[in-house]
Symmetry: C2
């Protein structure tokens, strides 16, 4: 079949125009995926296979009223596929999309809202003028307006959106909302923007490279280091808040939030006392994880040494020459172990189960190909790379990751052989799809190696593998096999609860249960039970609790999906119809 | 003649390779210009005509040893000319250039250093890694290193470069030097970075549009306003200093600087007392202007009202209902007059001579074509636009400006007719080359209209034209014609001394005189006496005083030429031969 992308969208548009859903569906392969960000579904949804595509069109076509389909770029051929970027319009938005054809039928369609038609973001050609070029006796200067806005905010004026948490997620979202003209306030418990990074352990450095880590609107400068140290990241976030003129209450915590039927009533504890706010929307940007998992080993209270959760670990220098045991084997465990080793401690890792390890250099070269100087040289900037990533449904991404990890394992066979010889347990996931899929499925179980694996392989950090902690005694840990491991310090790198647990403390236990866990695709692997959902649970979409949202993730996810969250909130604020197809996740956990 | 750009550089390279200076010179038109930034001359020089080109080659070819000439982009045809970007190498640097041919001979050649071969700037593909991906017991974190650096700077460690002034010029230069690995310290008298903008008068907004105003490395975000209010600019500079990790001493002033024969001995007054620094290089980044011109009207001490220089003006609200007289008619005078009018004062402008006025919108559309969203859409980003601007010698730029102002005057004929009817005196320079040439030649005598001209044309701000101030009396001003103008407030917008006068107070009067004035091209117009130099006096180049530099100008000039200054200083720090051709300006003023 020789249908070109242009032919295809013409046929697709004709079918949709005439309400011929079966005809439109017939233009897809039987195993095709269609991923939509808001434009049809006002949700983040991927449908796979003709019946699901047909169902989605039945549920969304009338309200969406898509039109003006056109290619916006050249046709790109790869193997037996052709791909092209496309544009379209809906009842309320301008859309962007990407089509991949094989044998004249769509194998993948991606559709997303680019801008709300009547409320486009003020950027580039539509940026604000900043000043009326006309003398005026009622002029307020920018600084006067800003000072006035800040003085009134939370008193005379209410933020439309309250963002809990001023890390990268909250800050990125606030910047998007501001650019869309939505009044937002960040509440951050730390004293300075960026402290969420500064307060982490001493030697922390970003494990992802710079090209993947940009914030919205303001890319890192070209002389920024590939791997950013945590304090430099903290300073960047603080400078960003100032440069973007975001509203943030520092040293403040959200104590509780009650849905009144018309909006939220939120109590914020400031250093000068409690303040009640009444935002319309409430966003949890409290970190990709929920609260730390409690340490519940029997006998922990009798341990004579120091016992802390990794979230409380900052600096190992007090433990030079001492015996430090790190329980766990994922990112935090590796970083804490290395920090302790650098501080001169005798370090042992107690590892129950296998995790996925990839060398940073390898991952950067093979896994971050779209986010690199090489991609930039080909004209793929961070925004284009984000769209390419978003245009790939998770099912296909998983397959691509399997191929990637086959290459990685071949390339780094020596590294993995040395690591295996140390006794350290590693794997690439139940389906060999590797690190990123572990992150998406369970937000745990991986380490991007920035040096610790070598300390393990060379025996400078000891490993006890295949053992969990059964109990604690005054002198240390008791393992599952009864062995006692003596310790002066035990760092429990035992992970975090799901993000939705933060809701329990602030809204209610019932709300947290109604929402259910965040993250996970329904992959059917341990920690991510099926059925397959195809999208991440509860992230960046409407949840089971009205006007309550989750936003977060690493810098890349925070950057891209902040726009998705902001567009949904903006549309609701402007009274645009936003019928949600596919519904929120149903909790129950 | 059909010689193509490729043929031309082949012939040019062959001639240079064989030392055939006459042959190389014969490849230029008799009236050709060659502008060089550092690559041949280690200076900023434009030579015009074959004899001058020949002389420059005689003076520079042996030491430069240029080679590897090649085109780096497609040939661009315009009228009867062909242009192309090119690359080359010299004994110590990678070069970039642009060639314009007419009838097979060069009409314009531009050459510049892009990078020092053995000391390339760490950016893009050569950016720093930021971390050694290897555990190390001697690890210093980024924050520890930074704190240590700041604690030692000026005590145990000396900055290689001391930059006097932390406005946009000093900050941009410090960022360039940091990126080149040159230790630099900014000394800024204000309490916060950005205060040089915040401390200006209340209603100040940048008159140049955003696309022209980017700082190095970190462009304004796409939602930044076209015209940035002064306090927002102040915040941006402060955020920039933090994000770029620049070293700045705030609330500090440079009291004096003495050349010791090996370097500078500089006394800096900090809030905690004086500190003696011994930098190798001293940069005056004290603003595009020198100190304010003293108000020397006879009887000024008897004036019963308030008399201030425009540099001290901040806010007119205390003068609501009062009689305010603004002496002068250039940018400051317009802005102060409008601010007073907005505050409710009765405002009169006393104007001695004509100035150039252009409406902001017109200038943005016609004059900033290369710095615009439209240019961005054509792939011309700010760095490319800067190179295009730099590649145009001032003699040709002047001609282009004459053509531009002919268009502007035709387009805005109604505006100029209304302004003329008010009695306000305006012109377009002695040779009709307009606003930008006035700025370059005399750093004065122009106004980009952001609203005040309408107040003047409509009579809401009064104008007394063709009169200077002869004296002051208790009730106001006495004009040249003997008229008395009563006033409660007189703001003397009488301009500033040349930038080199700042040297007199810090180094010595003799040094200031040896250097002579900054700015001016030798145009032969009032305020810019000939002979024609073709480049700006003393800016960004070696001066008559060794290791003393001037850096500054508007945001655009500060951005582009900060790199030129930084490369010269880096080369000297690294011991690279930097024979200066064309010599520094000879002062005498």
């Amino acid at each position: 079949m020789t249908r070109s992308p242009q032919d295809w969208i013409t046929a697709f548009a004709d079918a949709l125009d005439s309400g011929d859903i079966d005809g439109a569906t017939a233009l897809f392969h039987s195993d095709a995926c269609w991923r939509d960000l808001l434009s049809f579904t006002w949700n983040i949804q991927t449908v796979a296979g003709r019946p699901a595509i047909r169902a989605m069109l039945h549920g969304t076509l009338a309200a969406t009223a898509p039109r003006d389909w056109h290619l916006t770029g050249p046709v790109e051929a790869a193997g037996d596929s052709q791909s092209a970027w496309l544009g379209f319009a809906t009842a309320s938005a301008q859309g962007i999309g990407r089509l991949t054809l094989r044998d004249g039928l769509a194998s993948v369609l991606f559709t997303a809202i680019a801008d709300l038609t009547d409320h486009p973001e003020a950027r580039g050609p539509t940026r604000p003028m900043g000043v009326a070029h006309q003398a005026s006796r009622s002029r307020h200067t920018w600084a006067e307006d800003r000072d006035d806005r800040r003085a009134r905010l939370g008193r005379q004026d209410q933020p439309h959106v309250l963002i809990i948490g001023g890390g990268q997620g909250g800050i990125a979202l606030a910047a998007r909302l501001k650019s869309l003209g939505v009044p937002a306030l960040i509440v951050e418990r730390n004293a300075r923007a960026g402290d969420s990074w500064r307060n982490r352990y001493r030697s922390l450095v970003l494990h992802d490279p710079v090209w993947y880590d940009h914030l919205p609107y303001l890319p890192f400068p070209p002389n920024w280091p590939v791997f950013c140290p945590k304090d430099k990241m903290g300073d960047w976030l603080e400078a960003y808040v100032q440069a973007m003129d975001l509203d943030i209450w520092l040293s403040s915590t959200v104590e509780n939030a009650v849905w009144t039927g018309a909006g939220w009533q939120v109590t914020v504890r400031r250093t000068d006392g409690p303040v009640t706010l009444t935002p319309t929307q409430l966003v949890f940007a409290t970190g990709a994880y929920g609260p730390p998992r409690a340490i519940d080993w029997p006998g922990a209270d009798r341990f004579a040494g120091t016992l802390i959760h990794s979230s409380a670990y900052q600096d190992g220098r007090a433990f030079a020459g001492k015996r430090a045991v790190v329980v766990g084997a994922a990112s935090s465990a590796h970083d804490v172990a290395a920090d302790l080793w650098e501080a001169g401690a005798q370090v042992t890792l107690v590892q129950r189960s296998a995790i996925c390890v990839v060398q940073s250099q390898t991952l950067m070269e093979l896994g971050f190909e779209m986010y690199s100087e090489a991609a930039l040289a080909r004209g793929i900037d961070v925004d284009r790379a984000d769209l390419l990533a978003a245009a790939t449904p998770f099912a296909l991404f998983t397959q691509g990751q399997r191929e990637l990890y086959a290459r990685i394992r071949a390339r780094d066979a020596d590294f993995y052989a040395r690591l295996a010889a140390s006794g350290f347990l590693f794997d690439f996931g139940e389906d060999d799809s590797g690190l990123m899929m572990k992150a998406l499925r369970t937000a745990s179980g991986y380490y991007i190696d920035v040096g610790t694996s070598d300390l393990i392989a060379s025996g400078q950090i000891g490993v006890i593998a295949g053992q969990g902690v059964a109990a604690m005694v005054p002198e240390g840990l008791v393992l599952d096999d009864g062995r006692i491991v003596a310790a002066d310090l035990v760092v429990a790198c035992t992970g975090y609860q799901s993000m939705h647990r933060a809701v329990a403390g602030i809204v209610s236990e019932a709300a947290a249960r109604a929402i259910g866990p965040c993250w996970g695709l329904g992959s059917g692997v341990r920690g991510d039970p099926g059925p397959w959902r195809g999208e991440l649970r509860n992230m960046w979409t409407p949840t089971a609790i009205a006007n309550l949202w989750f936003h977060g993730g690493n810098l890349a996810l925070s950057r891209f999906y902040s726009r998705v969250v902001a567009l949904q909130i903006k549309a609701r604020m402007e009274g645009i119809a936003t019928p949600v197809w596919g519904g929120p996740d149903q909790g129950g956990a």
